[in-house]
């Protein structure tokens, strides 16, 4: 249980690091809520989506399909973690 939680935490940290390093996050690290919509909060725009997809593909070694490019999969840190877990079978 503890191991599973740690793996999820690790993925979350990778996404948080990428988002804070590459997008303008109001309030920085403390301002990034894991369940907040990246689009509605103005953190990620349409070009940011493509950068995020490239990060996912290069970091986790998965090919993101066009039909997977949905807010349900990619529009918050928590959703991103769940998507990667699902796709990598972790």
């Amino acid at each position: 249980m503890s191991g599973e939680r740690n793996a999820r935490d690790g993925i979350r940290d990778q996404f948080r690091g990428f988002i804070i390093g590459n997008f303008a996050v109001p309030g920085g690290e403390a301002g990034l809520k894991n369940d907040a919509s990246l689009l509605e909060e103005g953190i990620m725009d349409s070009t940011g989506v493509l950068d995020l997809v490239m990060f996912i593909e290069e970091t986790f070694g998965i090919q993101v399909k066009d039909e997977e490019l949905t807010p349900e999969n990619l529009d918050s840190v928590d959703r991103l973690v769940t998507f990667v877990e699902k796709r990598t079978g972790r």
Partner: protein, 323 residues
């Protein structure tokens, strides 16, 4: 005012007078002798030129046709026909050689060949966003579509580097047109009259220092739906009114809806009005027969596009700028 389906209806005669007064005022304030309008064969430039003629008289309006080798042939045909109907002077300057000298086509094609190695100059190309946002939720990502000489179509999702390469090259078309318009404007002491409407301006659907590089924007307070109302009222020719709006900068025909907006203008304009005026999502859905999820999806797309293009407008920030 309660939100309803006809909320964008305008009093066309009153609006025409208001815009014409604005144009006359600006020409006077800038001490210009008239206006020049780039005529694309589309509805916005047709309306801008009609309004300039009403405001200043046909003798003071110059129409400029700026085609290039990938422009639709009907663009120049419709623009010329409309200019003749208005009785304005018109000049044509083909910008293909200028674009070639800058390497616009070669630079763009090299990006396309990195995706489709057998692509050559006989093929057509375009970029577009996922279709029909209201039916299927999808983030805004661009797909490159090519069509070979036999009519076979292939497509691939673009990465940011490829997208930026294609957009940067293609935007030189609008920027070259801006340079041409200012050549004629300065030579003849005219102002450059813009053609961007509100539906485009709010979502950043224009090129900074391209079609956004003008002296006045007499349509920028009008949604596209209202542009059509005024165009009908002022007698813009049927061919232009009935033509599907298109950026006309890609060899493979692409409409504004495919390229950027992801929904028809009629729906887009009402949703945009509701978003700008903070109409409650439930009320918007009830009036437009959409679910709350569909309305939220549209609002999210507007926010994303506005954020992505926010830096387009206004003067460049300076140390004297307010925060």
């Amino acid at each position: 005012m309660a939100f309803h389906k006809d909320i964008l209806r305008i009093d066309c005669e009153a609006e025409t007078k208001r815009i014409c007064s604005f144009i006359r005022q600006q020409v006077g304030d800038m001490r210009k002798a008239g206006a020049v309008v780039g005529l694309s064969g589309g509805i916005d430039s047709a309306l801008s030129s009609e309004l300039c003629v009403r405001a200043l008289g046909k003798e003071k309006v110059l129409g400029l046709l700026l085609p290039e080798k990938e422009s639709s042939p009907v663009s120049a045909e419709y623009a010329g026909k409309h200019a003749r109907k208005m009785g304005i002077a018109c000049e044509t300057f083909d910008i293909t050689a200028t674009l070639d000298a800058f390497g616009v086509y070669d630079r763009r094609d090299s990006v396309i060949r990195a995706v489709f190695p057998d692509y050559d100059a006989s093929w057509k190309s375009k970029i577009s966003l996922p279709a029909d946002l209201l039916s299927r939720d999808a983030l805004s990502f661009f797909t490159l579509k090519v069509q070979d000489a036999a009519g076979n179509v292939r497509s691939a999702r673009l990465k940011n580097e490829g997208l930026r390469g294609i957009v940067a090259a293609t935007n030189v078309k609008q920027r070259t047109r801006m340079v041409s318009l200012y050549y004629y404007a300065e030579k003849e002491n005219r102002l450059v009259c813009g053609t961007t409407n509100k539906s485009e301006a709010v979502q950043g659907f224009y090129v900074k220092y391209g079609d956004g590089g003008v002296d006045i924007e007499p349509l920028q307070h009008l949604y596209k739906n209202q542009v059509y109302q005024l165009a009908e009222h002022l007698g813009v020719i049927r061919e232009i009114i009935e033509r599907a709006p298109s950026p006309d900068t890609y060899s493979f025909v692409v409409t504004d809806e495919e390229f950027y907006f992801r929904m028809p203008y009629g729906t887009l304009d009402l949703l945009l009005y509701a978003w700008e005026n903070r109409v409650p999502v439930g009320e918007v859905g009830a009036v437009m027969d959409l679910t709350e999820e569909q309305v939220k999806r549209a609002f999210r797309d507007f926010t994303s596009k506005q954020n992505a293009t926010r830096y387009f407008g206004g003067a460049p920030p300076t140390l004297d700028s307010p925060n």
